[in-house]
Amino acid sequence: MPDERTLGAPADPGPGGSGAARVLVALYAVFALAAGSRAGVQLATRFDEAPLAYLLSALAAVVYLVATVALARGPAGRRVALVAITVELVGVLVVGTLSLADAAAFPDETVWSGYGRGYLYVPLVLPVLGLSVLLRRRSDRPAQR
């Protein structure tokens, strides 16, 4: 059927509930790339201007990378993903608050500054989505380890 070639063949149903997690992996991969390149540039070109902010950028990039890999591994990476995403949520809340309260310590933007306002607040929404997907996955399959 030419229609299938053009518009795409009907999809396999796939394992239930895994789709949202797959989209989440894509989002995390984009943020690992964005935060990673930002941190790399900042650390390489002007580390002494704002060491705290730039080290936090690097930390954010590592957290996104770990979360991306852990989410992509599915159930096997579940515990690592939970830890990474929790760190991420705490990070975005703490850094977001500090960047507003003590702007002098953050002369340059990080991914988490102002709760991620430079990134359309996606950094604030992402960990909430991530935790909800992970916690729902557990209640779906309680017997599986």
Partner: protein
């Protein structure tokens, strides 16, 4: 950086987002429509990148490392999105491309901003 190409990339990226979400809603894998849109998007990005590289000098853009970081990232995203979406057999293949399209749509404007920023 040429504004017309930024707008063109944004329009194609938006179409890719719509096509990707539509195939997820229709419970389909991706088809030639998605591949064509991603191909056009990649072509626009490559032309833009070539013109930007040719037009760089000491003052433009002011923050050259960041600009080059974004530029190399943005041309890789449609390729990575297509490779992943083609191997995805569930209806979420289109959503993966939609994420890629949305990322490109945001990044080209950030690139333009970096290009136009003058050095302090």
């Amino acid at each position: 950086m040429i504004l017309a190409l930024v707008v063109a990339a944004t329009v194609v990226a938006a179409l890719l987002v719509v096509a990707g979400l539509a195939s997820t809603l229709a419970r389909r894998r991706i088809g030639l429509v998605h591949l064509a849109l991603a191909g056009v998007l990649e072509a626009v990005l490559l032309v833009q990148a070539a013109l930007a590289l040719a037009g760089m000098d000491g003052d433009t853009p002011a923050d050259a490392p960041t600009f080059l970081g974004y530029l190399s990232g943005v041309v890789l995203i449609p390729v990575a999105g297509v490779l992943w979406a083609r191997s995805e057999v569930t209806r979420w293949a289109g959503s993966v491309l939609a994420v890629a399209g949305a990322s490109v749509g945001v990044m080209v404007w950030r690139l333009l901003e970096l290009w136009e920023a003058t050095g302090a």
